[in-house]
Symmetry: C3
Subunit: 466 residues, 3 copies
């Protein structure tokens, strides 16, 4: 028997009838607002070249680490999914996924994917072993049509602005090409300097050499290195960037004297940099980046706490970003203090902080953001970009930091087709949360209506200066 | 358009109709019980002098760090709110607050303040830019009337007993004056020795000198220092105190030999005390205070885990208690062991433990309190004194520690007018929690009714020996 | 007035009527499935000898540390409950419990006990001071009947298979006797080598000597010691074991070279083993045990994070397992890496991980289990084996690890009579959780129905190879 795929109009709203009625009304008032996507990982080449996406597996399965990590956890080899140097048949790879679609029950991936299947591709049966070929063929055929080219989807998805993420060594040709094309879609970049900031990043020394070449600065001297950052930041800002992003192992910051910083830089640019020096340099660079943000106005984002490439054999065989990044305990109160001591009291500087460690929501981040003028809380991130993750975020942060020290939703994804589903999920969850406050007479209905707009649209636009 | 301010009779009760009906009945049965306020920070001078409070800003805004920290986080300067050496116009300060009242949506401050406005001052419109002057004038005028003097409010609020908090150097003149006045209100003190116990407290060395003078003991000798504590504790007990309170950075305790303690005391009373010695001395003093509690019967409270004065510039400009105390990770299992090894198995000693780190509720505190006879759990504290904070506290602790190892509600506030609102909020949340247990057939209705009384009144009275 | 004891048919199901209706239907579809109890601490002697249990106190009170720890926390002496070298009258001990039964309100013990009283013993009044004797007499009398002998209860409880836990030095005579008896009940063992693996275990050195004797291997040589483990594991497997269990203070693993391991073993078998060496040896042995599991197919369980025997005086007076084991902060991401680097990518090896530190559910364990093929998550454990504990477990793990990286329910108990109550509670909570997903249109009803079967029966059977 084939099972029907249907998206219920009340999905994700609270079950209690009176609360649901409030949530539904709130949701309907904001459901069609344009999408602001201030932080994500789509490929600017898509929008520059506007070529058709490939087949179902290439687009939806092989690049989505949420999806293949779950399949991998249940014994499916990555090479069988077409990942790495693999000549797996995409139809057969898709079948491995289809047969195991039940593994995703209760996960946000399931919700996002069902939206993509039902809304983007108009499929009305559930994915399983029996419908695997139907899915593969339907999706692959539609992807070949003009309506499924990147720009058409961008417009259909009602995206007002989307930010991609590039490193300092990126020449931003695709962003330039988008601008040159005359297309009206607003695709901007963001400055992510990890490859030239983290001494433990693969190729760090080569990256410094390339940065020197690109900027005509001597990036093996401290002052030249800082000047190079300034130049690249200015270039990124010219290409639309309004923010920087920093993906560090910890939230540690430092505020060394100029002499100490220079000496540290000399040590980390040698081949035998110690782990402690690497950590201290990353820490110091967060404060340097904050100092530059005070100058150039770029909003600063900090995404700490992932133990990258935890699975040694997988990293050696397949490289980065294969679903083996694992959160770990992350401290903010002492870690951020050096940076906050310098810039924390400024209202003209914005630092948006994220976490993978939910125990800090109520203990550290909400109290910090509810005090320091520069601080804002990023939304529930990565593994917490989910219904329960969002509920926990709002319940743990709102009472101390309020709503207005948060910045709306980030989709943070390279899965382009899921972007509307992710924003829709976030909007539904926020409306549900607001509805509960109204139903328990902890908030007036008109306040919830204002907040629904703010959380879905205004806060992101304002925090990211979009 | 002016918005109506109304307190819904079912506010804060669960939304599900059958659960709400149970909660409402429970709440009605305990709503009018007298207030037991065993831990707080009201000023005994108010009740001694019984003078009128000043204007709206002086009473409700400038002293409430919950309120001004949120305004500060959104760029309002403290001096503009009349804080510190400021000649800000109170009416204009109030306007800064009124214009930003939406920042408090979803926070407990909003709930407490709306109660104060509606119930204490009988105002029926929402605070915002348009109603700012109306508020300022109404509140300020009422505060000048006899009905709003401290003792009148105390009686109107149906307070059975309230504890203030004083340091060992306080001569308790106000408490004496209250007793001498013949007024029937029960205002007692509590012994908070941090200024003479924490070597890192501002003025620690001067404080020891003052303590010597006050007690006629040599507080630069270990035995004299301990004797001075005993004398002050006895004096505080005479002035009604039934408890001590200890606000340490960590929960660390120690149990040194007399010789080791003496040597440590010699080190910390020198000017160059190391941080490690300061921590060890605080740790040792908790055990010494416990030993004295075994002798004199004072209930001991431990409030650890705040990183005090986190914002350097603000501390330098405005001093302590300006909303910049930030919780940090706090460990109890190893930290409390030395003290528990000595006194943990006594039923004639009570140690009430609080936390700002909710991750310890289920992992550490509930298992400890569900075993050691001396231990009780303080209620959800500070940033967690909120609807969701209380829900998390009950959900995380009850299954392991039960209800009877908790001690009812503490308002812990200097915001006198909000005290009934805070107790009312706690009562509503507890009744809601009990109602959920009844609705899910996890508890009988008559048990919930007994517990509602216990949580609102009996447990605090018993735990604090009131 | 005597209060009625009734078990409501909808107990523990969500209060919202539509959600409850879904939950009720799910529950009814799985309520009568046989019990799979893959991890517990019942005494195999019971099933071998099939003798009558003693009186109410001996069976239900004195051995249940959940129960007596709560009584102890409120000042009841253990000796008065018949624990330790005590000649307390069991009827009077029972009365101490009965008089304080209100302490258990809101705890899972209360739910389990009420089930035992109502369902197992057919009692229809609440336990309290007035009904204490009625309870004691009724229970004690019934226990003397054939219907209450261990095998009769096993059959009445519809237990398909139960695992006990034994150490390597156990000769498993009772298991042999059960097999020899011809009784059809399936009682199997599990291999718990802590007494010969943990250098800090009481009697470690003697245990090695005994292990040498038992296995005819030289357990003071590294190779002989490993060979002894292999022999005992093989014997346990022959006696039905499908799993091993490891109760370590931390989750630390190590992967030393053979030479390093041998040198470490030489150090820990001396009398003056350092705590660091003890920790490293336990860590190394987890990896050795994993290596043996790869060979012999035994499923590996890791239960870390308890600070054992925290109460010094109680340990000295009464010994282990007296309710004084306290959870503590537990790290997994770095700790498990050495083991996972060797065996993490194998699908033919299963490591089931438990925790007492709920902050790791979403931060560490779900991300790890949602990636590594060998990893599965054990259910909410010990203090978290409770309605709210289970809810938190599902809410925090499902979105990242899904349901299929979990392993169903473990009762983990020595309280034999409570086993059906514990499984029933887990089934109800899981059905409630699934019903919420269905009610919020996050899952289809037919998927929830499949999952209800999987969570109640199939997953445990599969994960533990039963």
């Amino acid at each position: 028997m084939t099972r029907t795929l249907e998206l219920h109009p009340d999905r994700l709203l609270p079950a209690d009838p009176s609360t649901r009625a409030i949530a539904r009304e709130l949701y309907q008032s904001i459901a069609s607002l344009p999408i602001i996507s201030p932080h994500g990982h789509t490929d600017p080449r898509w929008f520059a070249a506007n070529e058709a996406f490939g087949n179902a597996t290439d687009l939806l399965l092989a690049p989505d680490h949420y999806v293949f990590r779950m399949l991998y956890s249940q014994g499916v080899g990555l090479q069988d999914l077409g990942i790495g140097k693999s000549d797996a048949d995409p139809r057969e790879a898709w079948r491995l996924f289809a047969e195991r679609y039940h593994l995703f029950r209760g996960t946000p991936s399931r919700i996002w994917l069902d939206w993509v299947f039902a809304e983007a591709f108009d499929i009305d049966v559930i994915l399983d072993a029996r419908t695997s070929d139907l899915y593969f063929d339907t999706i692959t055929a539609k992807l070949a049509t003009d309506a499924f080219r990147p720009r058409a989807l961008f417009e259909r998805f009602n995206i007002e602005v989307i930010a991609t993420t590039e490193g300092p060594l990126d020449r931003l040709e695709h962003h330039q090409a988008i601008r040159d094309s005359g297309w009206s879609g607003r695709v901007i970049t963001a400055y992510r300097p990890d490859p030239v900031v983290d001494p433990q990043f693969e190729g760090f020394h080569d990256n410094l050499a390339k940065l020197s070449e690109l900027t005509d600065e001597d990036c093996h001297s401290w002052t030249g290195y800082l000047a190079a950052h300034r130049k690249r930041r200015a270039f990124f800002a010219k290409m639309g960037a309004t923010s920087t992003d920093h993906g560090h192992p910890t939230a540690q910051t430092a505020d060394l004297s100029a002499d100490e910083a220079q000496a540290l830089f000399a040590r980390v640019t040698r081949k035998d940099c110690s782990p402690a020096d690497a950590e201290l340099f990353r820490a110091q660079m967060l404060t340097e980046m904050a100092a530059m943000s005070v100058e150039d106005g770029l909003v600063m984002q900090l995404h700490p706490g992932a133990y990258r490439n935890h699975n040694r054999a997988l990293f050696e065989g397949f490289g980065r970003d294969k679903g083996a990044d694992i959160p770990s305990r992350t401290e903010y109160v002492s870690a951020l203090k050096p940076l906050l001591d310098r810039f924390g009291n400024r209202s003209d500087f914005t630092l948006i902080v994220f976490t993978l460690d939910e125990s800090v929501y109520s203990r550290e981040l909400a109290p910090l953001a509810g005090h320091y003028p520069c601080l804002r809380l990023g939304p529930a991130w990565w593994f917490h970009d989910s219904p329960e993750g969002m509920r926990r975020f709002r319940k743990a942060t709102t009472e101390t930091a309020g709503f207005y020290n948060t910045v709306g939703f980030n989709d943070d994804t390279r899965a382009f087709l899921s972007i509307p589903a992710r924003h829709d999920l976030a909007r539904r969850m926020d409306c549900g949360f607001l509805a509960e406050l109204v139903a328990e007479h902890r908030m007036n209905d008109w306040e919830a209506a204002e907040l629904a707009q703010d959380l879905a649209y205004n806060l992101a636009k304002k925090a990211y200066k979009l």
